[in-house]
């Protein structure tokens, strides 16, 4: 028995000598799969879907309308999570995302409804202002060397306060309506508020794949009118973020800036520029979210986006990114956002107490962080 063991061991050593360094242990396929940032999120997504298929399978959650419902919610999370993901990999946080959402929306509403500017100008000005504010966030972090956590926490309050003050100053209200009427016929508004593939969905309705309305003003129209632009934005941002991160030089710089900024700087990576650009991108994503929401509701409110910064960070962490930076994946963050959306809406469909949603969030966040720490130890080999 003993000699047999020895023989296989020796044979094993010889075999591995032919192929690789004997000091490296053979890595099992499972372990290899484990050290991908997305793995935890993929498992989580499968679990969540299986759970709700069992619990809420007949509640309409997986009917076309139900799917549309949680797809839109997930897409909202994806939009802010993509920005937060790239920023976190670059080694920084942005806690002002939620306030930025409120601010961007109110700016569009004030400019268009109160000042009478065309919607498209209002949207572009809002983008310019918010991306500029993102750059300000970034510059303060770079110049002072303070943790981005503190700097953007300050902006969380500054922007929220400004948003409410501006809204009350101009309209004496914190909700500004009437955007929808102005958006009619605007060339830029449908990019954020419309639906695409209308004809295709109509055709699906006509041939009976999709249910159609049988009563009311929309008789004959399919229950799902098309793919909302919100979802299109989410897909475009995932694609852009993923390609940028994994397939470009700039992506390598993002990893390097978050992994070790000094080491990166010593080989000539413009760490400051990378970080400021990522703050700007996060602000851009927040603005996309805000304007899609304004177009959907037809109004802007000063309290929109509260807690979104944390929800974005949770999506990213569920998606396998490390809070300390230098590691993560946009695809993972997107799956994290999907889990988030499905659970939030799924609990509603299954009739569970909505307060339980927060309990679930806390638990999944903790589980994700523990799993991520374990994964990092496997990658770096530290004990």
């Amino acid at each position: 028995m003993l000699s047999w063991l020895n023989q296989t061991e020796i044979l094993g050593t010889i075999m591995s000598d032919l192929t690789a360094d004997e000091r490296l242990k053979e890595v099992s396929t499972i372990r290899k799969a484990m050290i991908r940032p997305e793995l935890g999120a993929i498992c989580g997504a499968i679990l969540v879907f299986a759970f709700f298929l069992l619990v809420a399978g007949d509640s309409g959650m997986f009917s076309p309308e139900g799917i549309q419902n949680w797809t839109i919610v997930s897409a909202q999370f994806v939009i802010i999570a993509t920005g937060a993901c790239l920023l976190m990999i670059a080694g920084e946080f942005d806690l002002s995302v939620g306030s930025m959402i409120g601010f961007a929306g109110i700016i569009v509403a004030i400019l268009s409804v109160q000042w009478g500017w065309p919607i498209w100008v209002s949207i572009l000005v809002s983008f310019a202002l918010c991306v500029g504010l993102g750059a300000v966030n970034g510059f303060i972090v770079i110049k002072t060397g303070l943790p981005s956590f503190i700097v953007t926490l300050a902006f969380l309050y500054i922007l929220r306060g400004l948003t409410i003050w501006l809204s009350i100053l101009t309209t004496r209200k914190t909700i500004i309506g009437g955007v929808r009427d102005l958006a009619e016929g605007d060339w830029l508004a449908p990019v954020f508020g419309g639906v695409i593939l209308k004809d295709f969905f109509q055709w699906l309705g006509d041939v009976g794949v999709l249910e159609t309305f049988s009563r009311g003003s929309r008789v004959g129209q399919p229950v799902v009118a098309g793919v909302p632009m919100l979802v299109v934005w989410a897909i475009v941002l995932i694609f852009f973020g993923h390609v940028l991160l994994t397939r470009t030089r700039f992506g390598n710089w993002i990893f390097a800036s978050g992994g070790d900024k000094l080491a990166a700087r010593y080989v000539g990576v413009p760490v400051n520029r990378v970080k400021v650009l990522m703050f700007m991108f996060t602000a851009f994503c927040a603005t996309v979210f805000a304007i899609c929401q304004v177009m959907e509701f037809g109004s802007a409110a000063a309290d929109r986006g509260i807690l979104k910064e944390f929800e974005a960070i949770i999506c990213v962490v569920i998606g396998g990114a490390l809070l300390t930076g230098g590691y993560g994946s946009v695809i993972g963050a997107a799956i994290g956002a999907l889990i988030f959306g499905v659970v939030q809406q799924g609990l509603f469909f299954s009739g569970a107490e909505s307060s339980l949603f927060r309990v679930f969030l806390g638990v999944i966040l903790l589980a994700a962080v523990i799993l991520n720490t374990y994964i990092r130890r496997m990658i770096t080999g530290e004990k």
Binding site: L24, A256, A264, Y266
Partner: protein, 259 residues
Amino acid sequence: MTEPIIQMKNIEKHFGSVIALGGVSLDLVPGECHCLLGDNGAGKSTLIKTLSGVYKPSAGEIYFEGHPMNFDFPRDAIKAGIATVYQDLAMIPLMSVSRNFFMGNEPMKKIGPISFFDHRHANEVTMGEMRKFGINLRGPDQAVGTLSGGERQTVAIARAMYFGAKVLILDEPTSALGVRQTSNVLATVDKVRNDGIAVVFITHNVRHALAVGDLFTVLNRGTTLGTAMRGEITPEELQDMMAGGQELATLEGSIGGTV
């Protein structure tokens, strides 16, 4: 003897009222390993940071290939062919070897109007270069964190060589390493030197210095105590110069052997 690639003449560096370097002269010759020894605070780091473009000297001149050298950023020095490998700052542990290898020098491939990171090229080169230096990677996507400290130094040295370094500055590459890893790094230094690169090897371990050095310069309190050729100086003499002599000799006696 070939012409020196770098000549430092009476370099001074002051930080406020502190004189970190008080007139240091140094010649670096291609194919020679110049060991820079000195205890903590002797000015070794200031000297190499001056050489690698991080600091500007307060006085004195540096000639690179015969021309006065005036670097504003570390980037300029890297471009000119002066590569510095810092002890713990060489690599990013969470990133793959190939991403680390090409960090800041990413190979690009154009697809349509957009330039993409050419991963295939990067992976091939990384595997090949690592093999040259005797490191067998599991794959180019292996994280640097799984490599030993010595291997990380070797990757950093290989990277500097691949990108055309003419002068290689190693900042205490062996100070945190075990015996086996140290000999691997020293072997790498030897290989690099034989390829005709001017090497600056900073250490406070006399034995490591004697193992690969051709020239030995001892720094103490911001000035050179002299430069010796290989064979002109014994380990004990070097050790004494570094520590400022007598005191250490007595200490050494009481602990019974070479420090």
